[in-house]
C-alpha cells in the first residue's frame, strides 16, 4: 500500500491543539488510485498535502509510505523519490538556467547517476508533452505560463515517485489548458502512478477520482467514491462546496418531480437520461414547465 494515514492530526502551534488545522484523518490508497481532495479555503487541504509528503510531521497519528512511518529518522531521506509534491502555481519554483537543469534538480538531489538523470528528464518531459529538442535548453523564464507549469510538473515527476500529489494543478489555466493538463494527469495515472489531487473542479474530481475526501474545518466531512460523496449535494452546499454541474442540475430537476441518477458526470449521459424520462412521461406534471 503506497500511502496510508492513521488518525493524523496537525496543529500549527501548541495554542490551537483544540482547533487543529488537520483533525483525525485516516485513509488508505492502493497503487494506481486517484484520490480527490475537496474542501473550502482553510479546511486544511494544504496542510494535509504537506503531511502526506513529509514536509510536516503529524502532531498525532502516523503517515505511512509503503508501510514505513514517515516520522522515523531516515524514512524522509529522498522521500521525494517516493512521493512527489507540486504546489499551487508550481512555475514559481523554477530557477535553473535551462529547462533540463531545472527538471534534473530532483534526480540530482537523489544522487542518481548522470545517465539515469538524463533518462528521467527525457521521460518526464515526454510525459508532460514537452518536446525535448524544442524546450531542453531554453530558459524557463522565456516560456509561457502554461509551458512553465509543465516544466515545473516535469521537475516533480522526474524523481520518479510512485505517488504524485498535485495542489490545484489547473489553477490559472484557460479551459483548453485545463483540459490538456487533466488529460496528461489521467495518462500519468493510467501508466501506474498513484495520484492525489486537490481541486475546486468537481467535474474533474468526478471524472477521474477513485476516492474522494471532503474536508471541512480540518476534519473529514465525507469519504468515499465520487458517487457516494456527490450523492448529497445539499449537505455539500451547506459547507460551501458544490457538486459537478450535471449532478446539481439533476438534483434540481429531481426536486421538481424527476427521478434522475446523481452519478452521471457527462452532459451527454445526463441529456440522454432526461430524454428518457421525458419520453416515458415520468415527470408527473407538465413536461413543458421544466
Amino acid at each position: 500500500m503506497p500511502l496510508a494515514l492513521e488518525r493524523v492530526s496537525y496543529s500549527y502551534t501548541s495554542y490551537d491543539v483544540n482547533a487543529p488545522a488537520v483533525r483525525d484523518v485516516s485513509l488508505a490508497l492502493e497503487d494506481g488510485e486517484f484520490l480527490g481532495i475537496i474542501g473550502h479555503t482553510g479546511s486544511g487541504k494544504s496542510t494535509l498535502l504537506q503531511l502526506m509528503c513529509g514536509l510536516l510531521l503529524p502532531t498525532s497519528g502516523r503517515v505511512l509510505i509503503d508501510g514505513e512511518d514517515l516520522s522515523q529518522n531516515g524514512t524522509r531521506k529522498k522521500v521525494h523519490t517516493k512521493v512527489g509534491m507540486a504546489f499551487q502555481y508550481p512555475e514559481y519554483q523554477l530557477f535553473a538556467p535551462s529547462v533540463v537543469e531545472d527538471i534534473a534538480f530532483g534526480p540530482r538531489n537523489a544522487g542518481m547517476p548522470a545517465a539515469e538523470i538524463d533518462q528521467r528528464v527525457q521521460e518526464a518531459m515526454a510525459a508532460l508533452g514537452l518536446d525535448y529538442d524544442r524546450y531542453a535548453w531554453k530558459s524557463p523564464f522565456e516560456l509561457s505560463g502554461g509551458e512553465m507549469r509543465r516544466v515545473a510538473l516535469a521537475g516533480v515527476l522526474a524523481s520518479n515517485p510512485k505517488i504524485l500529489i498535485l495542489d490545484e494543478p489547473t489553477a490559472g489555466l484557460d479551459p483548453a489548458g485545463r483540459n490538456r493538463l487533466m488529460q496528461t494527469i489521467k495518462e500519468i495515472n493510467t501508466a501506474g502512478k498513484t495520484i492525489i489531487m486537490v481541486s475546486h473542479s468537481m467535474e474533474d474530481i468526478a471524472n477521474h477520482a477513485t476516492q474522494v475526501l471532503v474536508l471541512n474545518q480540518g476534519g473529514v466531512f465525507s469519504h468515499g467514491t465520487p458517487e457516494q460523496v456527490f450523492a448529497q449535494p445539499i449537505a455539500l452546499r451547506a459547507i460551501n462546496l458544490g457538486v459537478p454541474q450535471t449532478t446539481a442540475f439533476a438534483s434540481d430537476l429531481n426536486e421538481r418531480g424527476f427521478d434522475l441518477p446523481l452519478n452521471l458526470y457527462s452532459i451527454d449521459a445526463l441529456a440522454d437520461a432526461i430524454a428518457l424520462q421525458l419520453e416515458s412521461g415520468l415527470t408527473g406534471g407538465d413536461s413543458h414547465a421544466v
Binding site: Q50, H80, F87, Y92, Q93, F95, A96, F105
Partner: protein, 264 residues
C-alpha cells in the same frame, strides 16, 4: 495559511504617546539619545530613565511587552559590562584573579555604559511600539520634503519605504512557498560545507528575485491604472498636524536636554 508578522512591533492602542506626531517622536527620540550622551554620572542616568518610564506608562503599553521586545538582543548589554570590568585599571582594586582585575571605577563605568545602552534600545523600542510603520513613512516623507529643492525625491523615497514594508509579509510567504517546493524536490538546505550551502541558496534566491519582479510589475500596473504618476504634489489622506500635545512633548524633552548638559 495566515502569516503573522509583527512589523516593527507596533502595539496598536490609543494613548497620548501614540497620538503624538510621528515626526516629533522621531526627532525627540534623537534628542533624547543625545541627551543621554551628555550625562556623565551613573546616578545622573536615572533622570532619563525615569522620564522614559513615564513615557512608557503614558503609552499604556504593558511594561512586560516592552521588555519582551528587547529580550532577543539583551546579550549585547554584557559587552560594556565586561569591557569596563576587565579593562579599566584605575581606581580601587576590588578583585584580583590572575590577569583579571576589577576595580570599583571599572564597576561604575561598566554599569554606566550598560545602562546608557539599555536606555538607547529601550527608547527606540518605545518609538516602534507607539508608531505604526505607515506613520513612520509619512514622517520620513514629510521631513524630507524641504530637501526637494536640493533634488531629493522625498515623495518617491517615502513611497519606496512604505511599499517595501508592505511587501515584507508577502515576501516571507513567497519564501516559505519556494523553500517548501524545493524541499519537496529533495533540496538539501542544511548540510554540507560553506560552498555547498551557498550553492544551495540558488534555488531559493532566483525564484525570490523572479517573484519580486512579478510583484513589482503587477503593483506598477495597478498603480498606473489608478492614475498614479508620482510627483510630490499628491495630496495625502492622512494629514500630519502638530497639536498642543506635540509642543508640550518638545518642551519637556528640551528641558531634559538642558538638564543633562548642565547638571548631570
Amino acid at each position: 495559511m495566515p502569516y503573522e508578522v509583527a512589523i516593527g512591533q507596533y502595539y496598536n492602542i490609543n494613548s497620548l504617546i501614540h497620538r503624538l506626531d510621528p515626526r516629533i517622536k522621531l526627532t525627540l527620540l534623537l534628542v533624547f539619545i543625545i541627551a543621554t550622551f551628555f550625562v556623565s554620572t551613573l546616578p545622573g542616568l536615572l533622570v532619563p530613565l525615569l522620564f522614559l518610564l513615564l513615557v512608557i506608562a503614558l503609552s499604556r503599553v504593558p511594561f512586560s511587552t516592552v521588555l519582551k521586545a528587547i529580550a532577543p538582543i539583551s546579550f549585547i548589554f554584557i559587552f560594556p559590562l565586561l569591557f569596563n570590568f576587565f579593562f579599566i585599571s584605575s581606581g580601587q582594586e576590588l578583585l584580583h584573579w590572575g590577569p583579571i582585575l576589577v576595580t570599583d571605577e571599572g564597576l561604575w563605568r561598566g554599569f554606566f555604559m550598560t545602562l546608557r545602552l539599555f536606555l538607547l534600545f529601550l527608547s527606540a523600542n518605545v518609538l516602534m511600539l507607539t508608531t505604526s510603520s505607515i506613520a513612520l513613512c509619512d514622517a520620513v516623507g514629510s521631513m524630507l520634503k524641504p530637501f526637494e529643492r536640493f533634488g531629493v525625491p522625498s515623495f518617491e523615497i517615502s513611497m519606496m519605504l512604505s511599499i517595501a514594508l508592505r511587501f515584507i509579509p508577502t515576501l516571507l510567504e513567497d519564501f516559505d512557498r519556494v523553500r517548501k517546493a524545493q524541499l519537496a524536490r529533495g533540496a538539501n538546505l542544511n548540510s554540507g560545507g560553506p560552498i555547498a550551502r551557498i550553492k544551495a541558496l540558488v534555488p531559493l534566491l532566483v525564484p525570490m528575485f523572479a517573484q519580486s519582479f512579478r510583484h513589482a510589475e503587477d503593483l506598477a500596473y495597478a498603480m498606473e491604472s489608478r492614475c498614479y504618476h508620482g510627483g510630490s504634489n499628491r495630496t495625502h489622506y492622512h494629514l500630519l498636524k502638530i497639536e498642543l500635545r506635540d509642543y508640550l512633548a518638545v518642551i519637556v524633552v528640551a528641558i531634559l536636554l538642558v538638564v543633562s548638559i548642565i547638571w548631570l
